[in-house]
């Protein structure tokens, strides 16, 4: 949608003629649900051949929100029925002006036959209301799968698996395979061992929930390469030389020379962890300057070896994050593969697999399922639009687009811009 095409409209002037897509932005407390109910009523009442409640998909996010929405729509219909009956009963005045929907009703339906027709439509809607597709995206997706077995490829209802239990099982298995089988794990990862897989589980859960991916972090390799070349290059001798040269340091300043000595020790005999810790504690350029005698023959900050250490220091400091990231990437990849596999094996699905499944079916190239769904539900109102993720949006997008990718049907997305 280009910027020019955005127009601001009043709920009464919004076009109900398909194809149309509207985005309604409303912050919390600005009567979002109220607007949805008003539009719902307009959809049911306006025009010569308005849809019945079974045709209008109303999706929202949480179970509680779905219940509330359903209740509000029901109340709206009851109000409308009362109002229309009142008009029909001959009451000319007395519409509740504060309720602009009722006012709209009174203004819109004035003639007797029009009013009767509207009343009939409202009454019919109320009777069929328990069959109206109003629910969470998950519940609606479940309905899609169940009602269209051939399109969805699901021949029978599947058990709902506990998403978190399955994720836990997979993360724990990843952990087992990586660390329990043999002793030769990367020693850098040993600092993750203390708390067990809980922390990793937390990270993976967060990562998968946001459907994010970690970009490869190559700092780890750079650090390893740097350390390798330090070890290979007999740098320890040079460091000892620099540390031992008293001319370089200001009186009573011993911090730098001590660090350099420790660095030399770590290079020669220390383990990896020791070396990385020492590297991480390398003083920065300013500290080096402070430590040096003003008339020192050599500015240590300009020394090539010291500069190499300086360069590696921030990498060494972030090493823990690198390690965590590396494990996290591997774990989340494992889970991405294992969770669907295990769910399939147990003949069940989790909430996210449900969405994924519907997504892949609805968005497939030929669009047959999307066409079926569109025929069943030519109109849709999607509440809490800001909370829909990419997959969920694409499901709705695919249903309300034809084979040439042009919008079809009527789709309103209502969200809090935040």
């Amino acid at each position: 949608m280009t910027k020019d095409s955005i127009r601001t409209l009043h709920w009464q002037s919004l076009s109900l003629t398909a194809p149309n897509r509207v985005l309604i932005e409303a912050s919390a407390g600005t009567g979002k649900t109220w607007t949805i109910a008003a539009l719902y009523l307009r959809l049911l009442l306006e025009g010569t051949d308005p849809p019945t409640v079974e045709k209008i998909l109303v999706a929202t996010f949480t179970e509680a929100a779905a219940r509330e929405l359903r209740e509000r729509l029901r109340v709206r219909l009851a109000d409308a029925e009362r109002e229309l009956q009142r008009t029909l009963g001959g009451a000319v005045h007395g519409v509740d002006e504060s309720d602009s929907v009722l006012k709209w009703l009174a203004d819109e339906f004035t003639g007797e036959s029009e009013t009767k027709q509207a009343l009939r439509r409202v009454q019919l809607a109320r009777m069929d209301f328990d069959r109206a597709p109003i629910g969470t995206i998950h519940a609606l997706c479940q309905r899609f799968l169940q009602d269209f077995p051939l399109d969805s490829g699901i021949a029978a209802a599947q058990a709902n698996l506990d998403e978190d239990a399955l994720l836990r099982e997979c993360v724990e298995d990843f952990w087992r395979r990586r660390y329990l089988a043999d002793a030769a794990a990367d020693s850098a990862e040993s600092e993750l061992f203390g708390g067990g897989p809980e922390k990793l589980l937390y990270d993976v859960r967060t990562l998968l929930a946001q459907d994010a991916r970690i970009l490869a972090a190559d700092g780890m390799e750079e650090l390893a390469r740097g350390v390798e070349s330090l070890r290979a290059g007999k740098c320890a001798t040079r460091l000892r030389e620099l540390a031992g040269n008293r001319e370089l340091y200001a009186p009573r300043k011993s911090l730098l020379s001590k660090r350099l000595l420790r660095m030399a020790d770590a290079l020669e005999s220390g383990g990896d962890a020791d070396l990385y810790d020492t590297l991480a504690e390398m003083p920065d350029a300013e500290t080096i300057d402070e430590q040096q005698r003003a008339d020192a023959p050599l500015r240590l900050r300009d020394d090539a070896l010291i500069q190499r250490l300086q360069h590696l220091q921030p990498l060494a400091r972030r090493r823990k994050s690198f390690v965590r990231g590396r494990v996290l990437v591997a774990a989340s990849e494992f889970c991405r593969e294992e969770i669907p596999r295990r769910a399939e094996q147990r003949q069940g699905q989790t909430y996210s697999l449900l969405i994924r499944n519907v997504h892949s079916r609805v968005c497939e190239a030929r669009g047959a399922f999307a066409q079926t769904l569109f025929a069943a539900y030519p109109l849709a109102l999607v509440d809490e639009f800001q909370d829909t993720d990419k997959q969920q949006f694409e499901i709705f997008d695919a249903i309300y687009r034809d084979a040439r990718r042009a919008p079809r049907g009527w789709l309103a997305m209502i969200g809090d811009p935040k």
């Binding site: 509680a64 009939r120 029978a156 660390y179 089988a181 147990r346």
Partner: protein, 1097 residues
């Protein structure tokens, strides 16, 4: 006399009267000749027999042959057509034919579905559903079938049908229909006595036509429980009119009773079908205009005569209990409200019996788990008026008995990870445990032994790898049993020595070994069963194979009838499935397909299930079973659950092109609601979940109930938030004061337990009353062993919970991943593991802990494997090594362990035991060694040490106490209080032991509030800082977990939400008293003990 006679009445018992009179006059000449009777549902038949027995002059209902309409048709067909059967077209067989044919079908979507991963199972599921759909077409759309067989129109359902026709022999129901009707019309069905068809409110067109045809030769009496006595075939529902837009000019049209037309569509369709077949309907029984003051009677009468205004002629009052709608927050609360309502009905009317009550729910299985909790054990009769006998009907076979539930679970054994708890749960099924020689007590022993052996999950390394874990033998079943059997071989003197690379588990005596041997047999059986799933078999072979497994896994108790029935039902279900093997043919099926079929069999509701056994009947809402009851309860009338959704959407084309007379679940459910409404004679109790349990929000009831409520609202002009006398909003909790204060006549409770507290919600009582609760009688003369006494003082709260409430730390600890092997390098109770390693090394005389994980630790299952285990050991070693060095230095390197048996007498009781950590030193003296790792020692460490030391000293004066504590910082030192222990003379030690023993004994009478760490904080502080320090130790403080949360039981059972310690509460005073008594033995405030005890603060 011939002809077709329809008897209509809204009261089934009135229809039964007519039937009874007719049957009585037609008794066969010979008493042994059976009278055939067609009934709409077997349950209804059962009720009829009861009625006959009750009314009949001969007192018994003898020799009736009760059949259902389709059975009658089948018999008639057999008689007129000969032996030709249409069995191949029955749903259960048809599905196998479809299953075989699906791959030949030329339809991209069908192929896509069955080619997917797991396509085999999906193919069967699709075949199963399609078979159901075709079975309906055969009855309700014979014209479609005919069109398909003529080759049109071209679509996949038609082409699949044509293929089926080639595969399945014989004519099908639709084909035979015309012929049957013709033959029946010409010759009759061979009988001449009248045919009675009872209780039907719906008949498929072909059965009706056949009955009609046969009525030329014998009288056919059809008993139709018609809700309305009037002629109402032309009443249109408002919805229908609205849809067609026919309400136009004539606004005030006659739509009859709104509930009748909106709920009774099925009955109306039947009415129209009868009329359309040219069958004359009777005028309906005359009924006098009701004068009843009750809402229910008026509502029923209004429907009966089609008049909606009858209700509002009387005022609606809260006292009218004939119709009440209960809004509750949960299913459990629904049942609690139901129980109170039923108790009231029974109490108010002595003539009312439990068997006059029926409780129906759309999904009765959802209530099944709560029923025993609210109503007690099923089919239990007692004199207690608060006990309502009940039984449950209409649940899936698998839910009728734990044995069947277990069998259903075993079907999924191929996906199981063999978690310890999962396998142990199987042992909760007595028939299974019995088969393996185990009983309920064995289960607990088994569990603790298996946990000790380190069993977590997985059969063995290979299976764990296949399940997705690492290929590690540790903590598997094989690993655990190896340890156990090694333990049995090694006997008592296992000393950490590996036996053939296995660490023997200590403490396996002969009787334990026997039980464990049985458990091992069970595991072997499960393993074999699991492996057996891998091999494809023919359907017949699967059924036989599973049948053999039933015998391997279960043994029924001859005295337990229910168990025997369950086993029989299981064998029968498998046999029934086996009969489909002709249709299934010789194709070999994978387990995923066979499992679907077996599961389907277990998920079915058996028609053999007993119904009306006496007591309150809890059952489902089942069509064609309109039995009158004095009290009818409809529960679970929730939106989304009722009316129930059909399952065939998307495949069943009938739903797209409905015709009059179709059966569909939603309309059937509405009819059921109406029938239930009409079947009540005294009280109608309806409940639904009307309020969200989490947020205080209203939830709407199911549509039919909403319509009833709306009708009542309109009749009495109620609006908005008006209080309806028939609607009861139940409080969230059963102990709500409103149940007890008589403020609302409709709210009451028969639960005396809450009567005392209701309204006055007192402050929670700190410290669970262990003595007062219904615990098994305490053994007053319990003999305290030395170990028992030290265990008590290590953690008095846990010891009391364990001993008196049977609660273990693990049972309440939700952090504990009980079915997991160790996965981290930190130990859950680090200090324990470290202490053990140090003391073990000391006993062995080792100067250092080994560099790499010691074998006995690696093979104990207590340490994670691989890299984590190595890290864990390195960490442990780093901390423990200094403690070992320091202990050896203090003790002297030549000291050798010399365990000592002690036996002393305190207060007239003997206390005996073995003290392990006694060392003979180079100087000839002995020393008792104690160690506290990772934090300063407190009462939990020093009191047990004190007890051991005192016991030793009282028998050998030359013993020295050596105790070291290692602070968090790592430094190792002697606790200051050790001096106070060392200095005590024999008399003081005896006094001390006496006090500690007396306190432990006291705890058997009343709980002893002595949290060791909190008590230490109290005693160690100066008097004015005590309260503050103790509070900090007990509660979470600055991110430190307080002792109240050390073990979950502390908080839940001792603290109980009370403000503790708070100085003047009863609990806090008891705590302070106990602290003072203990401080008389060991006082952290004084390292030199005084003889006189301080007065209690």
């Amino acid at each position: 006399m011939t002809g077709f006679f329809v008897h209509r009445d809204s009261r089934t018992e009135a229809l039964a009267d007519k039937l009874f009179d007719a049957l009585d006059s037609e008794r066969p000449a010979h008493v042994l000749t059976a009278q055939t009777l067609v009934v709409a549902h077997p349950g209804l038949g059962r009720w009829l027999l009861g009625e006959f027995a009750r009314r009949g002059s001969r007192g018994i209902a003898a020799n009736f042959d009760l059949i259902q309409p389709w059975q009658w048709l089948e018999r008639a067909a057999e008689r007129v057509l000969g032996g030709e059967s249409d069995a191949g077209f029955r749903q259960e067989n048809l599905r196998w034919h479809i299953h075989a044919l699906l791959p030949t079908l030329d339809d991209a979507r069908v192929q896509g579905l069955i080619d997917a991963d797991d396509g085999e199972r999906r193919r069967f599921q699709l075949a199963d559903r399609l078979a159901g759909v075709y079975a309906q077409y055969l009855i309700y759309r014979p014209d479609w079938i005919e069109d398909w067989e003529k080759g049109r129109p071209k679509d996949w359902q038609g082409s699949l049908w044509r293929r089926l026709r080639q595969r399945v022999p014989g004519p099908h129901r639709a084909q035979r229909h015309a012929q049957i009707v013709e033959l029946l019309a010409a010759r009759g069905d061979g009988a001449s006595e009248p045919l009675h068809v009872f209780g039907v409110s719906h008949l498929p067109a072909d059965i009706l036509a056949a009955l009609h045809a046969v009525s030329a030769h014998r009288a056919v009496h059809l008993y139709f429980p018609d809700p309305c006595r009037e002629y109402w075939a032309d009443l249109k529902s408002k919805r229908e009119l609205l849809r067609k837009g026919e309400i136009d000019e004539e606004w005030h049209f006659e739509i009859g009773h709104p509930l009748l037309v909106s709920l009774g569509r099925m009955a109306q369709d039947f009415f129209i079908a009868l009329e359309g077949a040219g069958i004359e309907l009777d005028a309906g029984a005359d009924v006098a205009r009701t004068q009843s003051p009750h809402l229910l009677a008026r509502l029923q009468h209004g429907i009966r005569v089609g008049e909606s205004k009858l209700v509002q002629e009387i005022p609606a009052t809260p006292a009218d209990a004939s119709l009440r709608v209960h809004s509750c927050v949960t299913r459990l609360r629904e049942l609690e409200a139901l129980k109170d309502a039923l108790l009231r009905f029974l109490a108010d009317d002595a003539s009312l019996q439990a068997r006059d009550i029926v409780v129906m729910a759309p999904d009765i299985a959802a209530y099944a788990p709560y029923l025993p909790a609210v109503f007690g054990e099923a089919a239990h009769y007692s004199a207690d008026p608060a006990q309502i006998p009940w039984h449950l009907a209409d649940v899936r076979l698998a839910q009728t008995h734990p044995l069947l539930r277990a069998f259903a679970k075993l079907l999924d054994l191929g996906d199981s990870r063999f978690a310890l708890s999962e396998v142990l749960d199987l042992l909760d099924v007595p028939a299974l445990a019995r088969r393996f020689g185990l009983d309920g007590e064995d289960r607990d022993r088994l569990e603790s032994t298996l946990r000790r052996a380190g069993v977590a999950w997985g059969l063995d390394a290979a299976m764990k790898a296949a399940a997705g874990g690492a290929e590690v033998e540790n903590n598997s079943w094989t690993f655990g049993f190896d340890r156990i059997f090694a333990g049995a071989i090694a006997g008592a003197d296992t000393d950490g020595q590996l036996l053939d690379d296995v660490l023997p588990l200590p403490g396996i005596d002969a009787s334990a070994a026997l039980v464990l041997g049985h458990a091992h047999r069970l595991l072997d059986a499960l393993r074999e069963l699991r492996d057996g799933f891998a091999q494809p078999r023919r359907l017949r072979d699967w059924c036989v194979w599973l049948g053999e497994w039933v015998d391997v896994l279960f043994r029924a108790d001859a005295d337990d009838a229910a168990e025997g029935r369950a086993l029989d039902a299981l064998r029968r279900a498998l046999a029934e499935l086996g009969t489909q093997s002709t249709a299934a043919g010789a194709q070999k099926l994978s387990w995923s397909v066979a499992r679907e079929a077996v599961r389907g069999q277990l998920d079915a509701v058996s028609e053999r299930q007993p119904f009306l056994l006496g007591g309150v009947t809890f059952c489902g809402l089942v069509p064609q079973r309109s039995i009158p009851f004095r009290v009818v309860c409809l529960i679970g009338m929730n939106e989304g659950e009722f009316p129930r959704d059909g399952v065939d959407t998307g495949l069943n084309r009938m739903l797209e092109q409905p015709r009059r007379g179709d059966r569909d679940t939603r309309r059937e459910d509405r009819q059921l609601f109406l029938e239930a409404l009409m079947a009540v004679r005294q009280h109608l109790h309806i409940s639904y979940i009307g309020r969200d349990v989490h947020e205080d929000r209203r939830i709407d009831p199911a549509a039919p109930l909403a319509e009833l409520l709306q009708f009542l609202d309109e009749s009495y002009a109620f609006h908005g938030d008006d209080k309806r006398p028939w609607l009861i909003e139940h409080p969230q909790q059963p102990f709500d004061a409103r149940y007890y204060d008589a403020s609302d006549v409709r709210l009451f409770s028969f639960n005396g337990r809450f009567a005392k507290d209701a309204g006055a919600r007192a402050e929670p009582v700190a410290f669970i009353d262990l003595a007062g609760s219904a615990q098994p009688a305490r053994d007053e003369t319990r003999i305290w062993t030395l170990d028992g006494l030290t265990r008590f003082w290590r953690d008095p709260l846990q010891a009391q919970l364990h001993e008196f409430a049977g609660i273990d730390r693990g049972a309440l600890d939700d952090d504990a991943a009980l079915d997991n092997e160790p996965l981290k390098s930190n130990f859950d109770r680090r200090e324990r593991m470290e202490t053990r390693c140090v003391l073990d090394a000391l006993r062995r005389g080792a100067a250092t802990l080994p560099e790499s994980v010691p074998d006995e630790l690696a093979r104990s299952g207590a340490l994670a494997g691989g890299a984590i285990g190595a890290q864990a050991w390195a960490d442990l070693r780093e901390r423990a090594q200094p403690a070992l060095v320091e202990l050896r230095r203090t003790l002297g390197e030549e000291a050798r362990q010399a365990p000592r048996n002690v036996e002393i007498e305190i207060d007239g009781s003997r206390i005996a035991g073995t003290v392990r950590d006694v060392y003979a030193r180079a100087n000839g003296k002995s020393a008792l060694v104690g160690l506290r790792m990772n934090r300063a020692a407190d009462f939990g460490d020093l009191l047990p040490f004190y007890i051991r030391y005192a016991a030793l000293r009282l028998s050998d004066t030359a013993i020295e106490p050596i105790f070291l504590e290692q602070a968090e910082s790592g430094s190792v030192r002697e606790p200051a209080l050790l001096a106070a222990i060392r200095i005590q003379d024999a008399a003081q030690l005896r006094d001390g032991l006496q006090i500690l023993l007396a306190l432990a004994r006291q705890s058997q009478q009343a709980p002893l509030p002595f949290p060791a760490k909190t008590a230490w904080a109290w005693c160690a502080a100066k008097p004015d800082a005590r309260l503050d320090k103790a509070r900090k130790a007990w509660r979470d403080d600055d991110g430190e977990r307080g002792e109240s949360r050390y073990a979950p039981g502390n908080n839940a059972l001792f603290l109980r939400g009370a403000d503790f310690p708070n100085g003047d509460g009863a609990a806090s005073r008891a705590f302070a008293r106990t602290c003072a008594q203990v401080a008389a033995v060991l006082d952290p405030q004084r390292t030199i003990l005084l003889r006189e005890t301080e007065p209690a603060p």
